[in-house]
């Protein structure tokens, strides 16, 4: 079994590229007067979240890596480090990303980590860097276990995961409209990902792809960006603070407060952790499904259009 395989830490090496690209996007917006918006405190918060994500990786990365190496010890399979295997690993890891990302929107425990990425009301290249500090605590590293058990070396799996993250950087922009049709059909693009960051009922919980948009088309979660409905960025309930600590931990605090309120059954306490964001034991809040249904009831003409359910009499 190959134990000495090494791959570069591509995300750290990409930091100069991130800074240069942000400056280029900013310059474009200032000169052209279009293609997105920047605001100082919003961008600063996003950048600090990005730095914190790198720091948390340095401090807590050993947990996931230790878990992966343990699996590597167990598995009898070793696919080696050929280019073809790295490419296959990249594609399968992107499928892994799709599901982790989907869980990240549909399971509140995972959303608590991912929510900060959606907490900006802006959509520019700094938003891409608004990353979690608490990913380790979601235990989503288990979704990578099959790859390692299949014989992909942990270092390779982390390497392709880094490439995936770097790919996703450039799609966080309003400066690019639509890419050529063939590219939009296969790849995740600024247009597809703008939709993912939308708080419009239509755009909630869709386009989970990392690199290949085909996963969303395959699993029924694809929603195109519609010219008639501009994306409104941010959270259903936008934050009232730029404090990075509050941005990083607010949903964890929310889970704690909800799950420890008096008078709940243990089932209800558990549900505050694992049900979709917006779930409540007394129905006083709305999940994305309920928001979409309400939107359709108020706008029956939109029923059944992309991202929205058909009109029904049932209130969910």
């Amino acid at each position: 079994m190959t134990d000495t395989i090494t791959f570069p830490d591509v995300v750290n090496w990409a930091v100069p590229l991130f800074i240069a690209a942000i400056l280029a996007e900013l310059l474009w917006i200032v000169i052209k007067g279009r293609g997105g918006r920047y605001e100082t405190r919003d961008a600063l918060t996003s950048l600090i979240m990005g730095a914190g994500n790198v720091a948390s990786g340095i401090l807590l990365g050993f947990v996931a890596y230790g878990f992966f190496m343990l699996l590597w010890e167990i598995t009898p399979l070793d696919l080696g480090p050929s280019i073809g295997i790295i490419a296959l690993c990249f594609v399968l890891d992107d499928l892994r990303y799709y599901w982790v990302h989907r869980f990240g929107h549909r399971i509140r425990w995972v959303w608590a980590s991912h929510v900060n990425h959606h907490s900006s009301q802006h959509y520019n290249l700094t938003t891409a860097l608004r990353q979690t500090w608490t990913g380790t605590f979601t235990f989503m590293m288990v979704v990578r276990a099959p790859l390692i058990l299949l014989g992909f070396h942990p270092a390779m799996v982390l390497f392709v995961g880094g490439l995936n993250l770097i790919y996703q950087f450039w799609i966080h922009t309003e400066a690019i409209g639509k890419m050529p049709r063939w590219f939009e059909a296969v790849m995740n693009t600024p247009s597809h990902h703008r939709v993912h960051h939308g708080r419009n009922p239509r755009y909630l919980d869709c386009n989970y792809a990392g690199v290949f948009i085909i996963w969303d088309k395959l699993f029924g979660t694809f929603v195109p960006e519609l010219e008639e409905e501009k994306v409104d960025y941010g959270l259903v309930h936008n934050l009232g603070t730029f404090n990075p600590i509050r941005v990083a931990f607010h949903e964890w605090v929310g889970i704690f407060r909800d799950a420890t309120q008096p008078g709940l059954t243990w089932r209800e306490r558990l549900n505050y952790c694992i049900m979709p964001p917006g779930w409540s034991h007394d129905g006083s809040r709305e999940t994305s499904t309920a928001i979409k249904s309400r939107h359709v009831r108020r706008n029956p003409g939109l029923a059944g259009t992309p991202g929205l359910p058909p009109l029904t009499n049932r209130r969910s």
């Binding site: 100082t40 961008a43 936008n238």
Partner: protein
């Protein structure tokens, strides 16, 4: 990449971008041009609870909202806005207006710039519904 290179690059990069944005005039806060804008900003956060009364402050930086459910406030978050109900809020007069302390981890403190008379009026209005 060695930490000795990564760390200074990240610190200088973040600080440099923040300073540049500020110098480009991109630190300007949102203003609510009129009551209709304040109403729209409220409905953006609470689409099912329409305002029945909007009190826009003189400098158009915030608005006090009354709905059938209760009182709320709309205020700028950088170039954008957000809104919260004022349930459980503690209202304190400051030299520049009012400070609202909310039992909300995502919006713990809101500073609203008001002239002294306006601050008193807002405080009275909030007492009425407290």
């Amino acid at each position: 990449m060695p930490l000795s290179i990564l760390l200074p690059m990240v610190v200088v990069g973040i600080a440099g971008i923040a300073v540049l944005l500020h110098l480009l005039g991109l630190s300007r806060r949102a203003t609510l041009a009129d009551a209709a804008k304040a109403r729209a900003a409220w409905l953006r956060e609470f689409p099912t609870d329409a305002p029945i009364h909007v009190t826009l402050c003189d400098n158009r930086s915030a608005a006090l909202i009354a709905t059938e459910t209760g009182r709320g406030v709309v205020w700028p978050m950088g170039a954008d806005t957000t809104a919260r109900y004022l349930t459980g809020a503690r209202v304190t007069k400051t030299s520049s207006g009012l400070r609202l302390d909310l039992p909300d981890y995502t919006a713990p403190r809101i500073h609203i710039a008001l002239d002294p008379d306006e601050a008193t009026a807002w405080q009275d209005a909030l007492k009425e519904t407290a």
